[in-house]
């Protein structure tokens, strides 16, 4: 790519006043990394229009470990897609790291995703024809400003961290579901994103593996202060997150904070 400057320096807009209906923060010092203002998403479905999001206001702070929780069809995935810049809202505004995504063209949105967002998919979505190493290396290659040595170091470091260094040359389809999701996590983290989005990351895993995956993400959240946002209806996941964002029929309800659970960590992580 022609210029390698992280886009978070460009077009940094102040989302301005935070929405009034929901308390925006419990710590005035934390940076607002995601801001949603009255986000509506409608899907045309034949002759009718399905309104998946009906006016969402949400602020996510750096270092948060949060989960969007709701019944099937409540709009969790839709919300994550808006935040993940893979889809645009019908109305309302979405700011990622201060950049309003509605004003970006495809190229800019792509770069926004590349530098600011990491994705963990329910179905892992690894490129099967590439090795574990190559899958993880991909975002670094796309960013383009790394030497071979840097890439090697960083990828192996992450693979070691998710416990798959020994599998670096394997193909994804030679791995178990849990292992694949670990690769996926490594890939999501390798580009040092501001926020990692994970749409039901444990849905395709058994409960033990699911727990391990959550453990891993939590650990990374603790050590690296990477912001995590899940969607889930898995009670075990819900119990592990610091902030629960309930969604029902396209509308957010009052968030809940698992203060008992690592509150201190979560908050101190927002430097």
């Amino acid at each position: 790519m022609e210029h390698k400057s992280s886009p978070d320096t460009a077009q940094k807009a102040n989302p301005g006043t935070t929405p009034n209906t929901i308390p925006t923060t419990r710590s005035g010092t934390a940076e607002e990394i995601v801001v949603l203002q009255n986000v509506v998403k409608q899907y045309p479905l034949g002759k009718v229009t399905v309104e998946a999001l009906k006016g969402i206001d949400l602020v996510l702070y750096e270092g948060e470990f949060a989960a969007v929780v709701g019944a099937s069809g409540s709009g969790k995935s839709t919300l994550l897609n808006m935040i993940g810049c893979v889809d645009l809202p019908t109305s309302g505004r979405v700011f990622i790291n201060g950049i309003e995504i509605g004003k970006q063209n495809d190229k800019e949105l792509t770069r926004l995703r590349l530098y600011n967002l990491g994705f963990i998919f329910q179905t892992f979505n690894l490129v099967n024809v590439l090795s574990v190493f190559q899958n993880v290396e991909m975002p670094l290659l796309l960013q383009g400003n790394f030497t071979r040595k840097e890439r090697l170091l960083r990828v192996d470091q992450l693979l070691d961290r998710v416990g798959l260094l020994t599998h670096r040359n394997h193909r994804p389809n030679e791995l178990s579901g849990g292992q694949r999701q670990r690769v996926s996590i490594a890939r999501a983290l390798v580009g040092k994103p501001k926020i990692v989005l994970a749409d039901e990351p444990t849905a395709n895993l058994d409960s033990v593996t699911g727990k391990e995956i959550i453990d891993l993400m939590q650990e990374i959240n603790h050590t690296d202060h990477t912001t995590f946002l899940f969607s889930t209806h898995d009670e075990r996941v819900v119990s592990r997150v610091q902030r629960i964002i309930p969604i029902e029929d396209g509308l957010l309800k009052q968030p809940q904070y698992n203060d008992a659970l690592n509150t201190a960590n979560a908050l101190t992580g927002t430097r």
């Binding site: 893979v86 889809d87 792509t110 770069r111 024809v129 890939r187």
Partner: protein, 720 residues
């Protein structure tokens, strides 16, 4: 996008190709096949071009042809076949010598050779011809004798001729009674009357040659057993032709002696068309057995051919005279063990050929029957009368031998022409020598043309005294006021008129024409239809063509220059046709590969929809997606093209060793011989892969563009 990314895309492409190997294999095979065929077709076409170029340039046209700028038709030396009713107008080069000197100044010119085509008929197989030939032979033997002695010595052959004339007189009386006196019958009867008259033979004693010519041209054709042989003639400077056309070879007889008038017949036509039909049955089977190991039992077409020919036995029997028929019948009865059978039974029985009896019968045919029959309508050494097609002009010329064009001898195309010397050609074609022009002008003065009465001419010819026959009654009745064309009578009489010394000089003139050795200057000086230019360095053809044209322009000569392909007419155009076919073929291969690659790529994109979405979601730009697919099809196309081209190359190399046999005789001409040994040059290798590469990439472009439109959101719903 840096090198590392390209590397990954490259790896992604290779691995995708591998993981979708069934698809890759299908697409690759189609592409490889396309390239293979293109490479092969291109190489073959080039080789055919070379073959044809060699066939044409080294047999007829030379590299360049010169002809009249004012010609109404494009010069086509080989394209007038089947079009002789409307003679094309190629104009004429008035003075070949000047053109030759002008063009020979060019350093790349090896030779300039005059040329012209015309057609002529010879009548043969005719009792009258034989009788006249006999008479001629006798005459030559007796040449030193005095005319009275000649007449005595010639009694027997003259009697034979007179008997035939008597027979014809009788025939024509019958014809006239039955069908009435048509113009042609009347003309025939008139001519018969001339030769029946005593003073014709008195004149013969004095000037035998003109009388013989009259008998040859006017009486011999009346015998309906005569076989007219149509000859397409190429008039040329025979000596230069033989030197500079590399494929020219004498087969039978000898070359025409330097500076002499003479005819060389194409051996292909001599053997394959003129030769006795029964003899040809034996020849063809022999050839097939020798070249292809054909067995009659296994070859239905050959059986049919033999069958058809043996049904011609009646025609064959008719061609025997009484004595021959008896001799052959005796031989055949003995050979077949049928002591009482007639020829009608014997011949079909004899021609019932099988693989077992063939060799014996062939030997028998050539040993016993062949000496009894006339194997060829004309024999080497014969003096033939060439009758100009369409009018009465004729030229006597000796058949010296047969020739072939090496390597293409069996092709019908190269058997198109017979060669005749330039002097004879000019006269046959109606180009008059300077001397003749003056004489004709003088003649016109003397008999102011419109009132030119045949009587004067004929009486001048046949009668120093008076004749008993009243020609004019015929003339007036049937050909009122017809001015003589430049027919033989006119010529003979013209000679006669212009040589007051007497008739003896006419013989000497005609003999002189036959026997004379023409100096090169006389062969050069005068008109020609066109001229072939033989170049030293053929690769300089185009440049030399331009420069020669410039030289001619500078010299103010109204002569244009064309290359061999144009000059050969329809035949040369076959190359163009083949090029068009190749072009259509390329388009076809192009379209098929396009569709296949396009479909395969669309399929690939549908299959990899989720993968594309995921890549987009994690930050791959549209360019990256485009690149991935383009690289993929590029790799596939390159590999398949290389395999295809390599296969094509190997196949051409293989073919260049074994050769492709010409499936038909005409094809030999295109192949430049009996087999085409194709060669490969670098150009042949570029074309196919280049075309396919273009196809591959352009056919991928649209699917790849679609791929870039895959929204990243599909990654979220992707199922593995």
């Amino acid at each position: 996008m840096d090198l590392a990314m390209l590397g990954l895309m490259n790896q992604l492409a290779w691995r995708s190709l591998w993981s979708h190997r069934a698809k890759s294999l299908v697409v690759g095979t189609v592409i490889a096949l396309g390239v293979f065929i293109l490479v092969l077709a291109d190489a073959l076409l080039d080789s055919i071009y070379d073959g044809m170029e060699s066939s044409i340039t080294s047999s007829i046209t030379g590299q360049l042809q010169l002809y009249d700028k004012e010609a109404e038709d494009k010069l086509s030396l080989m394209g007038t076949l089947g079009n002789f009713l409307t003679q094309p107008h190629f104009g004429q080069i008035d003075d070949f010598e000047i053109v030759r000197h002008t063009v020979e100044k060019h350093p790349n010119v090896a030779a300039v050779i005059p040329m012209g085509t015309d057609s002529a008929l010879i009548f043969s197989g005719n009792n009258m011809d034989q009788a006249l030939q006999e008479l001629r032979d006798a005459l030559h033997l007796l040449a030193p004798l005095h005319s009275n002695q000649i007449m005595v010595a010639l009694q027997s052959p003259i009697a034979r001729v007179q008997a035939i004339i008597e027979h014809l007189n009788h025939e024509y009386k019958l014809i006239a009674q039955v069908t009435g006196q048509s113009k042609s019958t009347a003309a025939a009867m008139k001519n018969l009357k001339i030769v029946s008259a005593e003073d014709f033979w008195q004149q013969f004693a004095l000037t035998p040659e003109p009388q013989l010519q009259f008998l040859d041209t006017r009486i011999a054709p009346l015998m309906d057993d005569s076989i007219p042989v149509f000859l397409e003639l190429l008039g040329t400077d025979l000596e230069r032709f033989q030197t500079h056309f590399g494929r020219f070879k004498i087969v039978k007889g000898a070359p025409v002696p330097s500076g002499r008038r003479g005819l060389l017949i194409n051996d292909f036509q001599y053997e394959k068309i003129m030769k006795d039909r029964m003899a040809r049955v034996f020849d063809s089977i022999s050839e097939l057995k020798a070249s292809e190991n054909t067995r009659i039992e296994e070859n239905k077409a050959l059986q049919d051919y033999i069958n058809r020919r043996s049904k011609e036995y009646k025609k064959w029997i008719l061609s025997f005279d009484g004595q021959t028929a008896e001799t052959i019948a005796v031989e055949l009865r003995q050979f077949l063990g049928l002591p009482k059978a007639s020829l009608e039974i014997l011949i079909p029985r004899f021609m019932d050929l099988t693989d077992d009896n063939f060799e014996r019968r062939k030997t028998f045919f050539y040993e016993k029957i062949r000496p009894e029959i006339k194997l060829y309508p004309v024999n080497i050494g014969d003096d033939l009368t060439l009758n100009k097609f369409g009018n009465g002009d004729s030229q006597r010329v000796r058949l010296y031998g047969t020739f072939k064009f090496d390597g293409v001898e069996n092709s019908g195309f190269s058997g198109l022409f017979h060669l005749v010397d330039m002097i004879t050609f000019r006269e046959l074609h109606g180009y008059l020598t300077e001397q003749q022009k003056i004489e004709i002008a003088a003649l016109k003065e003397e008999f102011s043309t419109p009132e030119w009465d045949r009587n004067d001419v004929e009486s001048a010819l046949f009668d120093n005294a008076e004749t008993e026959i009243d020609w004019s009654s015929f003339d007036n009745e049937f050909e009122p006021n017809q001015a003589p064309s430049s027919g033989i009578n006119a010529e003979i009489s013209a000679d006669f008129q212009l040589n007051p010394e007497g008739s003896q000089s006419i013989i000497s003139q005609i003999n002189e024409a036959q026997q004379r050795v023409y100096p090169q200057s006389e062969i050069d000086r005068g008109a020609t239809v066109s001229a072939a230019v033989i170049l030293k360095d053929v690769s300089q053809l185009e440049q030399s063509e331009r420069e020669i044209a410039a030289l001619l322009d500078q010299a103010g000569l109204p002569v244009q220059v064309i290359d061999w392909q144009t000059a050969s007419g329809q035949v040369g155009q076959m190359i163009t046709v083949m090029k068009i076919v190749l072009f259509i073929f390329i388009i076809f291969v192009f379209s098929v590969s396009m569709v296949v690659v396009n479909n395969a790529m669309l399929m690939a994109i549908i299959n990899r929809y989720g993968e594309i979405g995921t890549l987009r979601a994690i930050g791959a730009s549209r360019n990256v997606i485009m690149g991935i697919f383009l690289i993929e099809s590029f790799i596939l196309t390159i590999i398949a093209s290389l395999i295809g081209a390599l296969a094509g190359l190997l196949f051409v190399i293989y073919l260049s060793h074994v050769g492709i046999p010409a499936p038909r005789l005409e094809i030999q001409f295109l192949f430049g011989g009996q087999r085409l040994y194709p060669t490969m040059n670098a150009d042949n290798l570029y074309l196919g892969p280049l075309v396919i590469l273009l196809v591959g990439v352009s056919a991928t472009f649209y699917p790849a563009l679609l791929a870039t439109r895959v929204p990243p959101v599909v990654a979220m719903n992707a199922r593995e």
